[in-house]
């Protein structure tokens, strides 16, 4: 099967510091792939390159046969790659419903937005998503009043409303309670039925429970790939990552 998203030899140079040194990564349709690695390994930078926030000095990002390397952020989103950031970033002064209304897949040019009216289908779509994210009773509250976990869900919900092909999640469970984590994990599994999910995560228990494929990064390079068991048995990984973690603990 051809990968839906593939990165070829990505190099990112921050004023001399090589954050990514030739990264190759393939993501297939319907898979949940976790990116793990110690701090500074370049996991978030890789997500930034895919979604256009950071420009690669060299290398290519191919998505369904289209070269996205030189595209701007909003164009990449329109192609079908959604990104959720580490800190929940929702529009705090808009209501939960309005947040979702802006996120729906729609014509986003000036004149379409000017003419846009909330259609019945859009309303149904939002209502379904409000139910899925457990926010139905908060629909008309400003998003700024939500709890941290609810904001995370709202943001994931907003990304899903765009009907992406690939969803990039940066530490989606940071700051969540145990029950919330479990729920988020199940939610992500549900999402993966329709699109590929690429997740940066530090929480090893969470990775163990929900990972299908794991990619380990270290100092701007891919160290190894495989299932969680394979990765755990890899000696290099144990040395640079799990070993170090064991020492810290």
């Amino acid at each position: 099967m051809n990968p839906i998203l593939s990165c070829h030899d990505i190099i990112v140079d921050f004023d001399g510091f090589k954050a990514l040194q030739g990264v190759n990564l393939d993501v297939h349709h319907g898979e949940i792939r976790f990116l793990i690695g110690p701090n500074g390994a370049g996991k978030t930078t890789l997500l930034d390159v895919i979604c256009g926030k950071t420009k690669a000095a060299d290398g290519k990002v191919m998505f369904q046969g289209v070269d996205l390397t030189k595209r701007r952020e909003h164009e990449i989103v329109r192609h079908g790659i959604a990104r959720k950031f580490q800190n929940p970033s929702v529009f705090t002064e808009l209501t939960v419903f309005e947040n979702m209304e802006l996120s729906i897949k729609q014509n986003r040019n000036l004149f379409s937005v000017m003419k846009a009216k909330l259609t019945a289908e859009e309303k149904d779509e939002i209502t379904v998503m409000l139910e899925r994210t457990d926010l139905l009773d908060r629909a008309y509250d400003p998003a700024g009043l939500l709890s941290h976990g609810q904001k995370q869900w709202l943001e994931i919900g907003m990304q899903l409303l765009q009907k992406p092909e690939v969803l990039l999640l940066d530490e989606p469970i940071a700051g969540m309670t145990g029950a919330e984590r479990e729920k988020t994990g199940l939610f992500i599994q549900e999402i993966a039925e329709k699109c590929a999910v690429l997740i940066v995560e530090h929480d090893m228990d969470f990775v163990r429970n929900f990972a299908e494929q794991v990619t380990v990064m270290h100092e701007g390079k891919i160290l190894c790939e495989g299932s969680m068991e394979e990765v755990q048995q890899n000696e290099l990984v144990a040395e640079v990552y799990l070993g170090r973690e064991a020492k810290v603990c």
């Binding site: 952020e73 529009f91 002064e93 802006l102 996120s103 897949k105 000036l110 937005v113």
Partner: protein, 354 residues
């Protein structure tokens, strides 16, 4: 919602009936304030809703005013060269002045030239992601450039004296009280139309996009919107509002000079909106009228200290009512109901400069 609409209607009705209960002098003042209110609505849209602080709206106001004034000046000169050109030794009317023989061209120019200048400035800055303080400073630099240009090219622009000594508009005498009342009524309608248009924008999905730009431009980018396009649009729209205000201003006041569009007036425009409440379009109108009303009251009654009074008023509002007069009115009913329900709660904090 109903109640709000009733208040708006009542307000505009009171304004429309002003010729019946105000003296000619007061009516002229109010007409001038309403022009300022039109600018305030535009500033509220870009600053309050979109979060772009423009300190250069004087330019757009000034350009609108000059466009109208050029037509009035040509009409007053009755085919001869405008007086200041003769004093400066200009032999022939420059080509760009000739365009302003046509009143409709002049009116269109007053609306669209500011919008186009704003669009150019907006494209250069917003597309390159210049925002916040840097944009504010740039917008102020534009004021300096335009004002300097107007003064330096005095043979074409009238220099520091600006353009004045008008006589007629469409053949009607500007000094006639009836014409002034008609112009006042046109100003009220213009303010009403611009206000309703702005309310409609803020309630539509476009308005939500604007608030989203203020709350998190980056997030919006990752929802597939190009914020720069929306920013350029709203900035141009608000510039054209200022241009309309300038044209109406010159018709009623009979004078436009570079000092009326300089840096200090540009900053004052932002103050009106801050005082009225930058998150409320209606508040912006009230802010413009009240601040200028207070200014003329203080300057008539206490000419020595009026600037201090204005300064104190501004400081008080920023410190105690960061949401301006509009915030005060929103907070009062809430405070009362909360008081009776479960005691007073701590209000949300909000800073004026963001």
């Amino acid at each position: 919602m109903r109640k709000k609409q009733m208040i708006y209607l009542l307000f505009f009705l009171i304004l429309l009936l002003a010729p019946f209960y105000l003296t000619e002098f007061r009516l002229a003042l109010l007409g001038k304030f309403l022009c300022y209110a039109i600018i305030a609505v535009g500033i509220c849209l870009i600053w309050g809703y979109t979060g772009i602080l423009s300190l250069g709206h004087g330019v757009y106001f000034g350009i609108g005013a000059y466009c109208m004034a050029m037509y009035l000046k040509l009409e007053a000169s009755k085919g001869a060269l405008p007086d200041f050109m003769e004093w400066n030794g200009v032999q022939e009317l420059p080509w760009f002045w000739k365009l302003f023989f046509n009143p409709f061209f002049s009116i269109m120019a007053a609306i669209f030239v500011p919008a186009m200048l704003a669009a150019v400035l907006g494209m250069l800055t917003f597309k390159n992601r210049i925002k916040g303080v840097y944009f504010s400073l740039l917008s102020q630099a534009v004021v300096v450039v335009v004002v300097t240009l107007l003064i330096a090219k005095q043979d074409f622009t009238g220099g520091t004296n600006g353009l004045t000594n008008f006589s007629t508009v469409f053949g009607f005498s500007l000094s006639s009280p009836m014409v002034q009342i008609v112009l006042y009524a046109i100003t009220v309608f213009a303010l009403f139309a611009i206000f309703m248009l702005s309310v409609w924008i803020t309630k539509s999905r476009l308005g939500h996009v604007l608030i989203a730009i203020r709350d998190g431009e980056n997030r919006l980018r990752f929802l597939g919107f190009d914020p720069a396009v929306f920013k350029v649009f709203i900035y141009s729209l608000s510039a054209s509002f200022a241009g309309i205000a300038g044209a109406l201003f010159v018709l009623q006041v009979g004078l436009i000079s570079p000092s009326m569009m300089d840096i200090i007036p540009s900053i004052e425009m932002v103050l009106w909106v801050a005082i009225g409440g930058r998150h409320s379009l209606f508040g912006a109108i009230i802010g413009a009228i009240l601040t200028n009303g207070a200014k003329s009251f203080f300057s008539e009654t206490y000419p020595d200290v009026w600037l201090f009074c204005l300064g104190i008023l501004f400081i008080l509002i920023v410190v105690f009512f960061p949401k301006g007069i509009a915030g005060l009115f929103e907070a009062f009913p809430k405070r009362f109901t909360k008081f009776f329900e479960k005691g007073v709660k701590k209000g949300e904090s909000d800073s004026v400069v963001s």
